[in-house]
């Protein structure tokens, strides 16, 4: 099973809320000076790819698109965790771009990598939460697509996956090649690389491509979509004290809750 995992680097979503800021010029989250990590579900996708490789053999390639200087660590970490090869597509503008555009570049890169059975992505990115990458990629690659999968099992060349939905889960048999978007599961806990694997990862080669190399210089995939404005939702809390004896307070409370349509 040859797998390509798409990894996006985002500002560490674990940072406290007060560290979150929006750049009014780009209408995107401020990245400068913030610690960057592999987006949470992308790391799950990588872990799942590594687990599949351990069971069925094959090769795992880590693929990332972003400003080269920033994303190096993501692919190095992927290599340290056990990916066999890594490709970086340098695009300083990528944090500003939307999924459709980025998907066309990634698809071009995947075609250039060549043979693959699976492409894995996270089910959503920790910063922008578009949930669109897997379907876009599947379309561009002419591959099957299943989103929000939490498990995958290979059975004589075919793949059976568990898809998480609001009602529960579905078991889906997928033909290959396929693009899967990965959510979380207790069995997918991204591994910590050993120190010596980190050292070894520093010595592994990383392929560096540009958008131009892929003939995707002006993909224009985002045409028709424009981000007009972004804002941080304001959360306000208000405390109301209900006066009176306990019985009156209880009555007033019920009335208030009814008025607020909570009861």
């Amino acid at each position: 099973m040859d797998t390509i995992v798409c990894l996006k680097q985002v500002v560490d979503p674990e940072l406290p809320q007060w560290d979150f800021a929006i750049d009014p010029a780009t209408k995107r989250q401020v990245r400068m000076g913030k610690p960057l990590v592999i987006s949470t579900y992308d790391e799950n996708a990588l872990e799942l790819a590594l687990q599949l490789k351990e069971k069925t053999g094959g090769k795992v390639t880590a693929l990332t698109l972003g400003p080269q200087g920033e994303v190096k660590d993501a692919v190095r970490l992927a290599l340290a965790m056990g990916a066999d090869e890594a490709v970086v597509i340098d695009d300083p503008q990528s944090p500003q771009r939307l999924a459709a555009d980025k998907a066309s570049v990634l698809a071009a890169a995947i075609k250039r990598i060549g043979r693959f059975d699976l492409v894995l992505t996270g089910c959503e990115s920790a910063d922008w939460v578009e949930r669109a990458m897997a379907p876009f990629l599947a379309e561009a690659l002419g591959a099957a697509c299943v989103t929000f999968i939490s498990r995958a099992e290979s059975r004589d060349g075919a793949l059976s996956v568990r898809r998480t939905s609001e009602e529960g889960f579905q078991t889906v048999d997928v033909r290959l090649p396929a693009v899967l978007s990965v959510t979380s599961d207790e069995a997918i806990r991204p591994r910590l690389p050993k120190v010596k694997d980190i050292m070894a990862a520093m010595r592994k080669p990383v392929a560096n491509w540009t958008r131009a190399d892929l003939g995707a210089e002006d993909a224009g995939g985002a045409k028709g979509v424009e981000v007009k404005d972004v804002s941080i939702p304001e959360r306000t809390t208000k405390v109301e004290f209900l006066e009176g004896e306990p019985a009156e307070q209880a009555e007033a409370l019920v009335a208030r809750l009814r008025a607020l349509k909570i009861l």
């Binding site: 406290p16 660590d73 910590l192 010596k196 980190i198 050292m199």
Partner: protein
């Protein structure tokens, strides 16, 4: 990336258990094994001996992360790395390296460092434990005290007087396995902080160690002990920086949330200044530590710089944790919050591997150019 690994390990594995380990004083055996599996017990041991082959700068970066989560757990790890693996790497024979480093790196073994004695602490070179060659074995007699990891350790670096010369000259270093006849654990100390690391007496009662277990040459022990402490002090500086950072991070979070007089306490200038001073001292300490580690990486002398880093960082940790308790008010004094633990843990960094007074002695010697 090593920092990322250390931080992930610290936040996922150590932090959730830090309070429990402090309250119970339990030795976190499984945690140490996990650390070893990741390559964190023999970090700077060359790869051919089973280590991770890391450089001294990455080493202190990682140690800070462990200490930020739990100074007790970090103490266990740093002793094994700095005080036990280091001298074997630097002074051991090829066969000693091959015999001991893989086990110490893999978690099969745990190391301890036996220098201090009841009547020789700061004046370590006046130690009295004796070593006498008897046929094919060294016979060791004496009592070592305050030995970190003393209870669980399987490999001990023991310093003993093998010749009548006073001071450093007559001292030799030995690799003593706990299973050798005549070595046992004596009193186990109860202490203020770093509770999950054991501190014990090691009693050598005609303990026989094979002749080939002498580390380095006879009479080299004093040099080995001091060279080892230079590296060890970087580990303690990192411990102090980690504790101080924990104190600052907790205090900043608390100051944002806690409201009094209709505003968050972080809006009071008194609190802001405390946080600013904490942050500044911590950065200064960290930079001193990085400089010393960098000199070490380049193979240059770093004794003075290691002492400066250890001195400044440990005093910064004591000061910052004291401030953290104060910023937390009553919550800082009770065990449901971490600052009282930081406060207790910080104190040891001013004492072991050379008290603050001894660091000043070392630094002033360099300043005055005296030997």
């Amino acid at each position: 990336m090593v920092q990322g690994l250390a931080r992930d390990f610290a936040t996922r594995e150590i932090l959730p258990r830090a309070a429990h380990l402090d309250h119970t004083g339990e030795f976190p055996k499984d945690l140490i094994q996990k650390a070893a599996d990741l390559g964190l017990m023999g970090m700077t041991v060359p790869e051919q001996y089973g280590g991770a082959g890391m450089d001294p700068v990455s080493y202190v970066i990682a140690q800070e992360e462990f200490a930020r989560a739990s100074a007790g757990v970090q103490a266990i790890i740093t002793v094994n790395n700095s005080l036990v693996c280091d001298p074997i790497v630097a002074f051991g024979s090829e066969s000693q390296k091959r015999r001991y480093l893989p086990g110490l790196s893999s978690g099969k073994d745990l190391g301890c460092y036996c220098l201090t004695e009841p009547s020789s602490g700061s004046d370590a070179m006046s130690l009295r434990t004796s070593a006498r060659l008897d046929g094919d074995a060294w016979v060791l007699n004496g009592t070592k005290t305050f030995v970190t990891n003393g209870v669980e350790a399987t490999i001990c670096i023991v310093y003993a007087r093998s010749a009548p010369d006073p001071g450093a000259k007559g001292i030799s270093a030995f690799i003593v396995e706990k299973q050798f006849p005549g070595i046992r654990v004596g009193k186990v100390e109860k202490k203020l902080g770093i509770k999950c690391s054991s501190t014990a007496e090691i009693i050598l009662d005609s303990c026989r160690a094979p002749k080939e277990n002498l580390l380095g040459e006879p009479g080299m022990g004093g040099r080995i002990a001091l060279a080892t402490l230079d590296g060890g002090r970087l580990g303690i500086a990192a411990q102090a920086v980690g504790i101080a950072r924990a104190a600052l991070e907790d205090s900043a979070a608390f100051a944002r949330e806690r409201r009094q007089f209709g505003q968050t306490i972080g809006e009071f200038q008194a609190i802001q200044w405390a946080l600013a001073d904490m942050a500044t001292r911590i950065d200064a300490a960290r930079l001193l530590m990085y400089r010393a580690a960098y000199l070490r990486r380049q193979g240059r002398p770093y004794t003075k710089e290691a002492s400066m880093a250890k001195l400044f960082a440990s005093e910064a940790a004591m000061w910052a944790s004291h401030k953290a308790v104060q910023i937390h008010g009553g919550y800082g004094y009770i065990q449901d919050y971490a600052p009282e633990r930081y406060f207790r843990d910080a104190k040891i960094t001013e004492i072991y591997e050379g008290t603050s007074e001894i660091q000043r002695v070392v630094i002033s010697r360099h300043v005055l150019g005296a030997r």
